[in-house]
């Protein structure tokens, strides 16, 4: 078969595109973002990016050092995540990066960023292993370890319930990790599990009847479900329909208005740990909620708030840094102290995890309301 001229021309165009992109002056400071805008975890990525973009608009209007924001889609795929990260580092020559919202995607790209010594902050990846990758990796949210402890303390101290049950989504590392940290703390504080069996479900499960019957027989005082809102909504609905009336507890994976659509009035009286409460009277929070609603038309969730804070924290570090060199930005980043975030006052500890409060929210008919703030 003869190769006609077309493939040659095509390759030439491709090369030109690529080369011209890399010749683009590296003078302006650039911050890169890798997030799943499409694919299986697109809901999280899109929310994160909404928060990031809102923060960026605000930052552009303020004074100080300027930077460009470059957003790449990783299609919820680990290979894409690493390729996009490398593109940002090598081609766009970013000096800082806002990372992925989920722990597994963050774990894929963090080693690359660490090796390149670029400061990296993930808005919402809560698995402890993420910041263990290296000293250039930080996060804007609390870890699952902390969340679990918060809810365990809440169950025993506030709700005064000692007999509980945990339902784990065993296709989610987040769920398993959070369940473990909750259970460890709960048992340490004198709580008891109502059943010796490990009760699990999988993502995309829709029928929990048999699970619920096991729960009913075990007769706990409360049920902790560290999962995501889609399954949790169905679980609570089906539990109430079976006559299980004890309170449900959960983590930030519940945070979505869809939870109320799915579960309906059944979700009333549940409690979750979360990063922020939209009805928090703090003016920082209220301004954010107002701005977000004006641009996007809906109330922001935890993912948006953390995206907003992540870029905010990085920006504060950029402004404070001695120079625009990544190493200096990182030095300022890890020294972040009392940053007034929407999700609380943020100070990094030795492992670049923020020491900040968690909020416990109570579910009412149509949404979550602020219940208590729990400090570390």
């Amino acid at each position: 078969m003869k190769l006609k001229g077309l493939p040659h021309k095509f390759l030439a165009c491709l090369l030109t595109l690529i080369i011209s992109n890399s010749l683009y002056s590296a003078e302006t400071l650039k911050v890169g973002v890798v997030s799943p805008i499409t694919g299986a975890t697109a809901t999280f990525g899109q929310e994160n990016v909404n928060g990031i973009k809102l923060a960026y608009e605000k930052i552009k209007k303020a004074g100080g050092k300027k930077f460009d924001l470059i957003i790449e889609d990783d299609k919820s795929d680990a290979i894409e995540s690493t390729t996009a990260t490398r593109k940002l580092i090598n081609i766009d020559k970013i000096s800082a990066m806002i990372g992925e919202p989920t722990s597994s995607l963050a774990l894929a790209s963090a080693p690359i960023v660490q090796e390149a010594k670029i400061p990296f902050i993930t808005p919402t990846a809560t698995n402890a292993k993420v910041t263990q990758v290296g000293d250039y990796i930080s996060r804007a949210c609390f870890t699952d370890d902390f969340q679990g402890v918060v809810m365990a303390k809440f169950a025993i101290n506030t709700l005064k319930k000692k007999k509980g049950l945990v339902l784990i989504e065993n296709t989610s590392d987040y769920s398993k990790g959070l369940a473990k940290s909750f259970t460890d703390e709960f048992l340490k504080m004198g709580g008891k599990m109502a059943s010796t069996e490990e009760l699990t479900y999988a993502a995309k499960d829709t029928d929990f009847q048999s699970l619920m019957r096991k729960v009913k027989r075990a007769n706990p005082d409360f049920i902790f479900v560290p999962g995501y809102y889609v399954e949790v909504g169905l679980i609570i609905k089906q539990a109430r329909a079976l006559g299980i009336n004890v309170p449900f507890l959960g983590g930030d994976g519940w945070d979505s208005p869809k939870l109320f659509e799915i579960a309906g009035p059944a979700v009333k009286g549940s409690y979750i740990s979360n990063h922020f409460a939209p009805d928090d009277k703090d003016p920082v929070v209220q301004n954010f909620v107002k701005d977000y609603k004006k641009v996007y038309g809906v109330n922001p969730g935890g993912f948006a708030a953390l995206g907003y804070d992540a870029l905010g924290i990085m920006n504060a570090a950029i402004q404070k840094a001695k120079s625009t060199k990544p190493a200096d930005i990182n030095a300022a980043l890890v020294a972040t102290k009392d940053y007034p975030g929407v999700t609380g006052k943020i100070t990094f500890d030795a492992n670049r995890n923020p020491k900040k409060a968690a909020v416990v929210l109570e579910a009412k008919e149509t949404g979550f309301v602020f219940h208590t703030k729990v400090n570390p």
Binding site: N170, T200, K204, D205, V230, K258
Partner: protein, 298 residues
């Protein structure tokens, strides 16, 4: 008998009941696969996406405050319409190129709708309410919901309807003729293109119906067709691909098996169940439970 064992028996019955309801959904979707395969020997990978589009349109219809029956109609019509368009624009020209290009085209169509759907509908999952007010009957250790009973009845009705259609109407006879031997049917004066379009429409409409009936148990999002479609396809194969009662049988088997495994063991293995059954059938009787063995002639 120990108390635990009695619980176990009741649980199995419950899983069985849930399996029948779930199986009805698989059966409805499997019907579309089997009808299309029967008529042009194509595994329509995009069938799950027809369901998805129907469910999405149904969702928007509900949002526009249409009553549930109207929304279901909208879903069925949109699935059917998309199927006809796809068949006309994409599958028909490929038909002459052979099985593999057709299969690949179907895969491409499936992927296209998934990603296009994400851009157009948004990736966030949407919720539809059950098509009738759900009432759960607590019968001691088991629960049956009126929705489950209704779905099962509707599926039976659809099966009876299809039986009547294929055996007692001209269109149905034409469908059977085309599936036996397309060139011969053409020579007998049957407008094969029209029959094929009709088959696509019917199969997709049923999928859309299934999606709306069971949509309340899952999140309606652009990637929902993938998983559902694959399992329904397995169901069709297990029952005997190309054979309508086979699709129903396969659907129920898969539904029950999945629920038994998910309930008695780990629900994260649910997806593997359908494939295990698939492999089993392919080893023991590849033409499916109700299938006939067709030997390839030289």
């Amino acid at each position: 008998m120990s108390q635990n064992f009695i619980y176990f028996l009741w649980d199995c019955l419950q899983y069985f009941i849930n399996g029948i309801a779930q199986g009805s959904l698989y059966a409805m979707v499997a019907l579309g696969y089997t009808m299309v395969y029967g008529i042009i020997r194509l595994v329509n990978f995009a069938h799950g996406e027809f369901l998805m589009i129907g469910a999405m349109c149904g969702f928007y219809a509900l949002r526009a405050n249409l009553p549930m029956p109207a929304a279901i109609l909208v879903a069925m019509l949109s699935s059917g319409l998309i199927a006809i368009i796809v068949e006309r624009v994409v599958y028909r020209p490929i038909r002459k190129s052979g099985r593999i290009p057709a299969l690949i085209t179907a895969i491409g169509t499936s992927l296209f709708f998934q990603y296009f759907g994400q851009l157009v509908f948004g990736a966030d999952p949407k919720t539809i309410p059950p098509f009738i007010e759900e009432k759960i009957f607590n019968l001691g250790e088991i629960n049956v919901s009126n929705v489950q009973i209704a779905i099962f009845c509707i599926t039976l009705f659809v099966l009876l309807f299809l039986f009547w259609l294929t055996h007692y109407t001209k269109v149905g006879k034409a469908m059977r003729a085309v599936s036996y031997n397309l060139p011969a049917a053409e020579l007998m004066g049957i407008n094969t293109n029209k029959i094929i379009s009709f088959t696509f429409f019917l199969g997709a409409a049923l999928a859309g119906l299934g999606g709306m009936l069971m949509g309340y148990t899952m999140s309606v999002e652009p990637m929902m067709g993938m998983n559902l479609g694959t399992k329904a396809f397995v169901a069709a194969v297990v029952g005997g691909i190309g054979i309508i009662p086979g699709a129903a049988l396969g659907g129920f088997i898969i539904g029950i098996a999945e629920n038994l495994v998910a309930g008695l063991y780990k629900s994260s293995l649910r997806d593997a169940v359908s494939f295990f059954i698939l492999i089993l059938i392919l080893l023991v009787k590849p033409s499916g439970i109700l299938g006939k063995n067709m030997k390839e002639k030289v």
